[in-house]
């Protein structure tokens, strides 16, 4: 009896589905990735067992290990309104382009006197300013700028949200207040920030932490 010859299958595999999937994933990750702007300050946050997620729209006050205070707001629209208010209060003339730039930059810790310079320098100068700055002034005797940021931030937030609701966007929500402080920061520095915010009517704070496992 003659041997039955099995047809030899080709050793090359069709990789099309795999490559298709790979590119699908690339597209997915590319679209979902949100690149953060350069952080003005590095903060090592403490860990907690809390499972509560950070709200979507937050106003963040960061405090680094040296006690410098930085301010940040998520909402682009609110930031644009806020900087016009602040420029008005501190009598600084900003162009429309400056306002636009301010609305997309990250956290900042610059006294208002240097704000224009800070906004307009987007390169190395800004980095140097970030390193040199003492943070947003919080001393009430030398002009408490943080109180103004918080106060006008709340006003700007309320205005923008009210406008959005009036325009039919029912999901528009007021921003929550978060504190992102370095583990090594002195608690009295955080306390001072909390006191300032409380005076402006903020009653609830979210302390930003990383996750650690719950001990048994």
């Amino acid at each position: 009896m003659p041997k039955i010859k099995l047809p030899r299958s080709s050793p090359s595999i069709d990789m099309t589905p795999m490559v298709d999937l790979a590119f699908l994933l690339v597209t997915f990750f590319m679209l979902t990735t949100k690149f953060r702007p350069d952080e003005a300050v590095t903060v090592t946050i403490p860990a907690s067992v809390s499972t509560t997620k950070i709200p979507d729209n937050v106003t963040t006050v960061s405090i680094d290990s040296a006690g410098r205070v930085f301010y940040d707001m998520d909402s682009k629209d609110v930031r644009e309104t806020l900087i016009t208010y602040m420029a008005g209060r501190y009598k600084i003339v900003l162009t429309a382009e400056d306002q636009q730039r301010f609305s997309i930059m990250g956290a900042f810790g610059i006294p208002m006197a240097k704000m224009k310079e800070y906004i307009e320098d987007q390169g190395a100068g800004r980095k140097i300013l970030n390193q040199q700055t003492m943070g947003i002034p919080t001393d009430s005797t030398k002009g408490d700028e943080l109180a103004d940021w918080v106060n006008l931030g709340i006003t700007a937030d309320a205005t923008v949200v009210a406008n959005k609701v009036a325009a039919g966007n029912k999901d528009a929500k007021r921003s929550s207040f978060a504190i992102k402080a370095d583990s090594k920061a002195k608690y009295k520095d955080i306390k001072r920030v909390i006191d300032i915010c409380q005076k402006q009517g903020v009653s609830h704070f979210e302390l930003i932490t990383t996750v650690r496992s719950r001990p048994k």
Partner: protein, 211 residues
């Protein structure tokens, strides 16, 4: 796989045809593109962070309200200081303005957590029952949360007063608030250490030679 069909080979075979150019392969080597694709895939997968940071909610008391102390509540006062030191005493300040009542501990597993748990047997007993039921899926998450809140809010549950002096670090406060969560303490408040507290700690440190 992935050929580019140029439609070569069809038509154009006229009699007066000039010498044909050598037919090039229509297969395209896609290896570099696929390599790049996977490189990008790896990059985006590694840089994307899906988990957002978590938060601890804090509603600090408004400054001017005078602190009302309830006598029927067992309470523990904890004072956070520099170098991760934790001083504590049972009861409130008025009852114990003597540095002999102060004790020193730390943030380790056997430290302040054990002290809180030991002094809060009432809640611990009720919570073990509740946790058992929750684990056995006898009660839903929302019911569990509600019952937990009610247990933590009971009259017999311990009230913890967290005080901070000027040397306390932020991480100490967060760890302490976290311990409140771990130890099922529903009633606590976060305030500054008062002058008598600081004096007591100084006394204590001198007596025990602690720097």
């Amino acid at each position: 796989m992935a050929d580019v069909d140029t439609g070569g080979g069809g038509g154009g075979h006229g009699k007066h045809q000039k010498k044909r150019a050598k037919k090039l392969s229509t297969k395209l080597d896609m290896t570099p593109m696929v390599d790049l694709g996977f490189l990008l895939l790896t990059f985006f997968m590694l840089t994307t962070t899906f988990n957002k940071p978590k938060v601890i909610g804090l509603t600090p008391p408004v400054k001017d309200t005078t602190h009302k102390t309830k006598v029927d509540t067992t309470s523990l006062t904890v004072i956070l200081s520099g170098n991760n030191k934790v001083y504590y005493y049972k009861g409130l300040l008025a009852m114990t303005s003597d540095s002999n009542n102060i004790k020193l501990t730390d943030f380790s597993d056997k430290g302040i957590r054990q002290i809180i748990l030991n002094n809060n047997g009432f809640v611990a007993g009720l919570m073990t029952d509740l946790d058992k039921k929750h684990k056995a899926n006898l009660i839903t998450d929302s019911v569990y949360d509600k019952l937990k809140d009610s247990v933590e809010g009971k009259k017999q549950a311990m009230f913890v007063i967290i005080k901070t002096d000027s040397l306390a670090k932020y991480v100490n406060v967060v760890t302490m608030l976290d311990e409140m969560d771990i130890c099922n303490i529903g009633k606590y408040s976060l305030i500054d250490a008062s002058k008598p507290d600081i004096d007591m700690i100084r006394d204590f440190n001198q007596k025990n030679n602690i720097k």
